[in-house]
């Protein structure tokens, strides 16, 4: 192959033909277009006339140029031009392929796999042995060189990891010995291990690097700023574009959906911040943020407790002493919680309906609303109580809202009236949620309430004084818990609320939010179990059983094979570990000189032979026209043909997608049924005949006199004009366009009805057992269909005109309608439940009603139903079902209201 700039030629020697072009020029110039020979008697009058235009008897230059162009294009076309020809690597010998395999690779993963496949295919063709190393998931020992074909087969198993290659990769342990070339598929991010590895690789042979163009984008963990959430957005290089950050979380029904979306405009910036200002209800539901349109673990930022904002109700005892702020039982709680929680300061009766996450009772002795509070705790609430003079005085026998039974009065140590020094705290036990917190020396307790000795006391105690008396006790209650601090929430009994330990303890109890970036100290002593892990593409998957992770490791270590990003949890806390390590500054990878950098920007190889030959052909066609025009042959029918061809080749304007007015008027003028075309002419004809038959039945028996049915065109028709849509489902039924689905959904919401008919006697039972059933599932998936149930015996369809028990067509299977609301109850003495208002938007069955209704032109049934008299009876019932259905559509739940008739009559009687 010869390469000229971006062009390559597979058969370059053919280009020698271009030398002949000047010769052709000379030849063509000398040869004017052949004249037409015409017999013409009037030539006698022409004799002696001279041509007006003095023109050399040569081919006009433009025709010449056209012909030269045609020939040149043909020559070039046959020479096999290729735009951006792939440079074939002539190298021999083993090839080592390094793949970063990090989350930054995930965004360009398909292209990487494509490049890998190409490299492996080329290597296989050249017979080069290949070894492949994923740096994010390095093998324990240098891999051997193997057949490229084997690696090609194992390529689908290669997945990007959600972490970056370790910073301390040891080239000696990673790289095989010997001399080989290396292809490094870089993810484009700079990291410390890269330079050393590049040097090591270059010592073995040539290094070629492939890396995607464009900067790598990543989301950092969200930080809380008052009511707002700030999401730092990092790019490896300044970019100029708008990035959309989406917040995802559970909607009220528990499905994950997008809750908010924020565009971030980057103007040659490498750093930006997406700011979400959301109501707390919405904000607490957010489970993750992601850069929309980017499939990478780095583009996902998981949220945990740090981003949650809890509603905490602070309940103080009855009458606060005015003016004594610092003595207020809730002052320190207020100070500790206000930055990270929504505080509700009200009476308990007012606070409970707000459904707070946490209720703190500061020195409240007797709780009036014990039952309500207990129910709230059992549903998952956390009740935290602080002791105090009132609680100590209350004498709580068996208060269920206390974790332990308390001894009346409490004790005082180290006070003016007692012996001994104030007690210090004992180190927290391993099992305590406070495990690992550092005890400040100055924290002492002077007074506390004491628990009655109890077998459970040890288990319930989560913090104790140095002498072993419990300081904080906890008891699980239903799904929630009750926690008692045996000291006051102010500094009266101890100086615990004054110390830094107090907010930390509240934090561990998930009362206040943790700082966004917990330090090792914050998490020390806790063991987190992985709940969910993030894969390289940014998808959360349930984690298989894995060993617990120490909190300190979580706080410090960058994610890696031992610490995969994801959600980690203790019993109280949830901690998110994002793929992007904290403090990671993204920078584009820099490569030493002497490295062949193969940009992903390199355009793909494009053979141009077809284009060149097509150009030659077009030029020749133009030449024909030009020659005809020049020699006067392009006239009369020929010119007309050429003009017609030109008109045909012009693009015709697109047809407007609207319903023809006459059709709309026809549909709107009367009750009109419609059937959805299936693409099968026979079935469509039967559907139309069935609706016609139903129309005749209705006209004979009821006041509904529908017009002729119509075949629906989902794309153009206004569905609102149709009373009932009959949708026969076949295995090959075409799928409507998204626009058509939008219209269908609007139709269903607006009170329309679709009768789905799988025509398979409901063999599938709404399942996927038959092709039509599967197709029905696929077709109906985008429709807003409410929950369904088999037709209940008291559904209004059974009595909207005729009294019916079954709804047969040619078959007699069950049908499905919108489910009745759960609270539908049968009134006393009424035969029917008082069901929902409105019309069921869909009726689904497989009874092939259209065939049962279908009549031919003279009104005779087209298809047999059943056998003999019983069959005719079934056809009659089928017709009655049709009448009932139409009546249901037209009158809604009118018949359902009949349940009130006895009551109304009774009232009238009075």
């Amino acid at each position: 192959m010869m390469v000229l700039g971006p062009l390559g030629f597979t058969a370059p020697w053919l280009l020698a033909g271009l030398i002949a072009l000047p010769l052709l020029w000379w030849l063509l110039r000398a040869t004017p277009p052949a004249p037409i020979r015409r017999r013409f008697p009037g030539v006698a009058l022409l004799l002696g006339l001279t041509d007006a235009t003095v023109q050399a008897e040569r081919t006009p230059w433009w025709l010449l140029a056209l012909r030269m162009l045609a020939l040149a294009a043909a020559i070039i076309g046959f020479a096999g031009p290729v735009l951006h020809p792939a440079k074939l690597d002539p190298a021999r010998g083993p090839l080592l392929i390094l793949e970063d395999g990090s989350w930054a690779s995930a965004a360009s993963w398909p292209r990487r796999i494509e490049r890998l496949t190409r490299a492996l295919t080329e290597a296989a063709a050249a017979g080069r042995p290949v070894a492949l190393i994923s740096l994010a998931d390095p093998p324990p020992a240098p891999p051997p060189f193997t057949e490229a074909r084997d690696l090609l087969a194992s390529l689908p198993g290669l997945q990007p990891q959600a972490w970056e290659p370790s910073i301390d990769l040891d080239p000696a342990r990673l790289l095989p010995d010997g001399s080989y070339d290396t292809l490094w598929l870089s993810d484009g991010l700079d990291r410390t291990s890269r330079a050393a590895l590049a040097r090591a690789v270059q010592a073995h042979g040539r290094l070629k690097v492939w890396q995607p163009a464009g900067p790598v984008l990543a989301l950092d963990a969200a930080t809380v700023d008052g009511a707002r959430l700030n999401l730092p957005l990092h790019a490896s290089a300044p970019v100029n574009r708008v990035v959309e950050v989406a917040a995802l979380g559970a909607d009220p029904s528990g499905l994950e959906r997008e809750l908010a979306r924020q565009p971030v405009t980057l103007r040659d910036q490498a750093q930006a911040e997406a700011v979400f200002d959301l109501p707390p209800e919405l904000r607490n539901r957010i489970t993750r943020f992601e850069i929309s349109g980017l499939r990478s673990a780095g583009a996902v930022s998981l949220t945990d407790d740090a981003q949650k904002r809890r509603k905490v109700a602070l309940i103080a005892p009855g009458s606060a002493r005015e003016g004594l702020e610092l003595l207020s039982p809730t002052h320190y709680l207020h100070q500790a919680l206000a930055p990270s929680a929504d505080l509700i300061e009200a009476t308990l009766a007012d606070a409970l309906p707000v459904k707070p996450d946490v209720i703190i009772l500061a020195d409240v002795g007797e709780v009036a609303e014990t039952a309500d509070l207990l129910a709230w705790v059992e549903r998952g609430g956390m009740l935290i109580r602080f002791a105090g003079p009132r609680l100590a005085a209350a004498g709580t026998g068996d208060d269920p809202l206390l974790p332990v039974r308390l001894r009346q009065g409490g004790r005082s140590v180290g006070g003016t009236m007692s012996w001994g020094a104030p007690r210090k705290l004992a180190p927290f036990a391993e099992t305590s949620p406070f495990a690992g917190l550092i005890l400040p020396d100055e924290v002492t307790v002077r007074e506390q309430v004491l628990a009655e000795p109890d077998p459970d006391l040890g288990a319930r105690s989560i913090a104790a004084l140095a002498d072993g008396t419990p300081l904080v006790t906890r008891k699980a209650l239903g799904q929630g818990a009750v926690v008692l601090f045996h000291v006051t929430a102010n500094a009266e009994w101890s100086n615990l609320p004054l110390s830094g330990l107090f907010p930390q303890m509240l934090d561990r109890l998930s009362v206040s939010a943790r700082p966004a970036a917990p330090s090792a100290e914050d998490l020390a002593g806790q063991t987190f179990t992985p709940r969910k892990r993030l894969d390289g593409f940014g998808l959360l998957t349930a984690s298989e059983a894995a060993a617990g992770v120490k909190g300190a490791d979580l706080a410090e270590g960058p994610p890696g094979p031992d610490l995969p990003p994801g959600l980690y949890a203790t019993t109280d806390q949830v901690l998110a570990l994002n793929a992007l390590p904290r403090g990671r500054q993204l920078a584009p990878a820099l490569w030493p000189a002497g490295v062949t950098l193969e940009g992903e920007t390199a355009p793909k190889q494009r053979p141009l032979a077809g284009l060149a030959l097509a150009l030659a052909l077009v030029a020749l066609l133009l030449d024909i026209l030009a020659t005809l025009a020049l020699s006067g042959r392009l006239r009369g029918p020929r010119a007309a043909a050429v003009a017609a061809l030109a008109v045909l080749l012009l693009p015709s304007p697109p047809q407007a997608q609207t319903m023809p007015e006459s059709r709309a008027i026809e549909a709107a003028a009367n009750v009109v049924f419609a059937s959805v075309p299936t693409g099968d002419a026979t079935i469509d004809a039967v559907s139309m005949a069935g609706l016609r038959g139903l129309g005749q039945t209705l006209t004979r028996r009821t006041t509904v006199e529908p017009s002729a049915p119509m075949q629906l065109d989902l794309e153009t028709d206004d569905l609102a004009l149709f009373t009932l849509i009959y949708w026969p489902v076949t295995e090959t039924a075409p799928t409507p366009s998204p626009a058509a689905y939008t219209k269908l959904n609007r139709y269903l919401r607006g009170g329309g009805m679709i009768l789905f008919d799988t025509r398979d006697a409901d063999l599938a039972g709404m399942g996927a057992a038959t092709g039509a059933g599967r197709r029905l599932q696929a077709l109906a998936a985008p429709l807003d269909i409410p929950p369904l149930e088999p037709l209940p015996a008291d559904h209004v369809l059974t009595r909207s005109f005729y009294l019916l028990q079954t709804m047969p067509g040619r078959h007699d299977g069950p049908i499905w309608v919108e489910a009745a609301p759960a609270d539908a109850e049968q009134a006393e003495g009424m035969p029917f439940r008082n069901l929902n208002d409105g019309v069921t938007p869909v009726v689904i069955g497989g009874n092939d009603w259209a065939s049962a209704w279908a009549v031919d032109e003279v009104g005779q049934p087209m298809f047999p139903v059943g056998r003999g008299q019983a069959g005719e009876r079934q056809r009659e019932i089928a017709a009655r079902f049709g009448v009932n259905l139409v009546m249901h559509v037209l009158t809604g739940n009118y018949k359902s209201d009949q349940v009130h008739v006895p009551a109304l009559l009774e009232r009238l009687g009075q």
């Binding site: 004017p32 277009p33 052949a34 004249p35 037409i36 020979r37 015409r38 017999r39 013409f40 008697p41 009037g42 030539v43 006698a44 009058l45 022409l46 004799l47 006339l49 041509d51 007006a52 235009t53 023109q55 008897e57 025009a629 020049l630 020699s631 006067g632 042959r633 006239r635």
Partner: protein, 302 residues
């Protein structure tokens, strides 16, 4: 198994003979059809003479032969009357249809708007004129001595045969009127692309012998409009003349000017000799031309 060649030859011969035989009645029928549309006028000379129509009774003079006396009329009065007939002089009409190769041109041989050759249109006109003249009792013949003017329906067949037989390999031809009897009327149908000088001589000679008539120029619309473009080599029908141009469209105006000039010239020399001149296009209906011919000659047999 028989030799196919004699069969084929016989078939060809027969087909040619049938075509030849068919052409004559077709021409006759077409000409008769055309002639039927004409209302021929009276033929009397508005004076007494030899004829068939009654003219007047006049008293017998001395010297009138007794056999001329109309006894039935004379019996109603005392004098003898002679029954006179209107003099009916038969006129000689001589036709000349240009047999040259140039007359075999048609600008549209096939298609929806196909036009006949100029020659067939000219023959049709000539024969239609002959039919109407023969019906009127005139003597009709060709200018050549092959078919001298004779009256009677039988002459029609002779004329048709002579017209069909007369062809020329030359590109252009001029009429020869030397054999035309004095006082005859002549109809010349041609495209007049030949040298007008020769025509002028012929006409002046004819005028000297009291021969008058009409010139009808039969042209194809293509010859009138010159709808050609581009590089073209024009040759005459027999190939005698050749003219090449690089852009035929440029010549259109000048060709038409020359044609108009030729037409003016022809009209002038016709007028000088007391002849009439007109043009007819094969694209137009033949009837108009026949009407004009009839009108131009009308004085002759009225």
């Amino acid at each position: 198994m028989s030799d196919p060649l004699p069969d084929a030859a016989a078939r060809d011969l027969r087909r040619a003979a049938e075509a030849e035989a068919a052409a004559l009645p077709a021409l006759l029928i077409a000409a008769e059809h055309l002639a039927n549309t004409m209302q021929m006028g009276g033929h009397g000379r508005r004076r007494a003479g030899a004829g068939e129509e009654f003219w007047q009774y006049r008293p017998a003079h001395s010297g009138d032969a007794a056999r001329f006396v109309d006894w039935r009329r004379s019996a109603r009065s005392d004098t003898q009357f002679i029954r006179e007939r209107e003099a009916q002089l038969a006129q000689s009409l001589c036709l000349w249809v240009d047999p040259a190769a140039s007359m075999r041109f048609t600008g549209a041989e096939t298609g929806r708007k196909a036009r006949p050759e100029k020659l067939s249109r000219a023959r049709l006109l000539a024969l239609a004129l002959a039919i109407s003249a023969l019906r009127a009792g005139e003597r009709v013949g060709l200018t050549s001595p092959l078919a001298p003017p004779r009256p009677g329906k039988a002459q029609l067949l002779t004329l048709a045969q002579a017209l069909l037989a007369e062809t020329s390999a030359l590109d252009y031809a001029a009429p020869d009127l030397s054999a035309v009897a004095p006082q005859a009327r002549v109809v010349v149908l041609s495209d007049f692309f030949t040298d007008p000088a020769g025509l002028e001589t012929v006409l002046s000679g004819a005028a000297g012998r009291g021969v008058s008539g009409v010139l009808l120029q039969v042209l194809d619309p293509a010859e009138e409009e010159f709808p050609y473009d581009g590089r073209t080599v024009f040759t005459s029908m027999a190939g005698g003349l050749r003219f090449e141009t690089r852009e035929a469209g440029d010549l259109r105006a000048r060709y038409r000017a020359r044609l108009a000039e030729r037409r003016d010239h022809l009209a002038r020399i016709a007028r000088q000799s007391g002849w009439a001149f007109a043009s007819h296009h094969t694209g137009a209906p033949a009837q108009a031309a026949l009407l004009w011919l009839h009108g131009a000659l009308g004085g002759g047999w009225r």
